[in-house]
């Protein structure tokens, strides 16, 4: 690009501050210095820009009022917190988005099972009974318990008479008697 080109002037204008601050790349710096050498008015522009920069830097730096600092920090904290909340909310929405269909299906199934269990339940026996029914049931219960007791007694007798007496006591008695006879026979 030639220094006489109008777009080169715009480029030089845009890069004056960067040149002063030493922020230009090596080839850009070379181009800029080539432009400076091509026209004397760029030296004046560069001088003026340098003065403005130095003047601004020389201005006193006002301290930020504490309430402004606090307000800014509070705002930053809110934004950071909001970001976490947003992230959590987004993650939750993603998870729920994947789960809501199975969850809905399971809920429907559960409702079906409960409904079927209630509908299919056989008719429950009456929960209220007349006094006579209760008395009759009491007689029946007493009879059942009496019967069980009698069966137990009878089977106990059978065990005693036919098992213990016949198969344990009698053989033992016979053995003792035989032994007693033998002892008597052996005595002189």
């Amino acid at each position: 690009m030639k220094p006489s080109n109008p777009s080169f002037r715009d480029w030089m204008d845009a890069h004056v501050e960067a040149y002063l601050d030493g922020d230009l790349a090596v080839d850009e710096r070379a181009d800029f210095e080539h432009g400076l050498a091509a026209g004397s008015d760029w030296e004046a522009e560069l001088f003026l820009a340098g003065q403005i920069r130095d003047g601004l830097r020389a201005l006193p730096r006002p301290a930020c009022p504490p309430r402004v600092t606090e307000a800014v920090l509070a705002q930053v904290r809110r934004e950071v917190h909001a970001t976490w909340k947003d992230q959590f909310r987004n993650r939750l929405q993603q998870q729920l988005g994947a789960l809501w269909q199975p969850a809905l299906a399971m809920t429907v199934l559960l409702l079906l099972v409960v409904s079927a269990a209630l509908i299919g339940r056989p008719a429950q026996p009456q929960d209220t009974f007349a006094e006579a029914q209760v008395q009759q049931a009491l007689v029946e219960v007493q009879w059942a318990l009496g019967y069980l007791s009698e069966v137990s007694r009878e089977t106990g007798k059978v065990v005693r008479d036919e098992v213990i007496a016949d198969r344990v006591v009698s053989p033992v008695q016979q053995a003792l008697t035989a032994r007693s006879h033998r002892s008597n026979d052996m005595q002189p």
Partner: protein, 184 residues
């Protein structure tokens, strides 16, 4: 996925009524005595089915006169009795069926505590033990000689000693002459 879920749902709907049956029928100490009625050509002479709310009412009704009986009944869930007339000609058949039922109970975890076999009498007493306590008892007495063929099933926390002691107080003769057929 929806089709599979729908299929599972319908299967559950079909199965659910079975779950909804009375809890007593799912109790490990329960034995359905209704099936025994099919062994005999005649209807049972004695049918006792006392369970649930009625059993609780009976317990409370007896509390004033016999608190020990009330406490015993409070621990029970159901009492079933079936009594039949048995002819000598049917004795062998019923004995064979009762033996098969005993074996089935034993295979399901019931213990046989009494077994008496002679020419005129067949007695089996089974108990179902759950967690160290007796949760069910089945008594089968088959005896044609005295027209005394009786099946009893008691469900609940059973203390045989207490039943024996309490039962001695009750006279069973009057019921022998009664024809009971009750199902609450």
């Amino acid at each position: 996925m929806w089709k599979r879920l729908l299929f599972c749902g319908w299967m559950l709907v079909l199965v659910a009524p079975a779950w909804a049956q009375d809890a007593i029928e799912r109790d490990p100490g329960y034995v359905n005595l209704d099936e025994i009625e099919g062994w005999f050509s005649k209807e049972p002479k004695i049918v006792v089915n006392v369970k649930g709310a009625l059993l609780n009412l009976v317990a409370e009704a007896s509390r004033y006169e016999d608190p020990e009986l009330a406490d015993l009944l409070r621990k029970l869930k159901s009492i079933q009795v079936r009594g039949f007339d048995l002819r000598w000609s049917d004795f062998e058949d019923v004995q064979r069926r009762a033996t098969a039922l005993s074996r089935r109970l034993e295979s399901r975890g019931w213990d046989t505590v009494v077994r008496v076999r002679d020419e005129e009498e067949y007695v089996d007493i089974h108990v179902r033990v759950e967690g160290g306590t007796i949760a069910g008892m089945v008594v089968m007495v088959v005896s044609p000689d005295e027209d005394e063929t009786v099946f009893v099933n008691i469900v609940g926390q059973i203390d045989p000693e207490q039943i024996g002691r309490l039962g001695r107080k009750f006279d069973i003769e009057p019921l022998n002459d009664m024809t009971l057929k009750r199902d609450f």
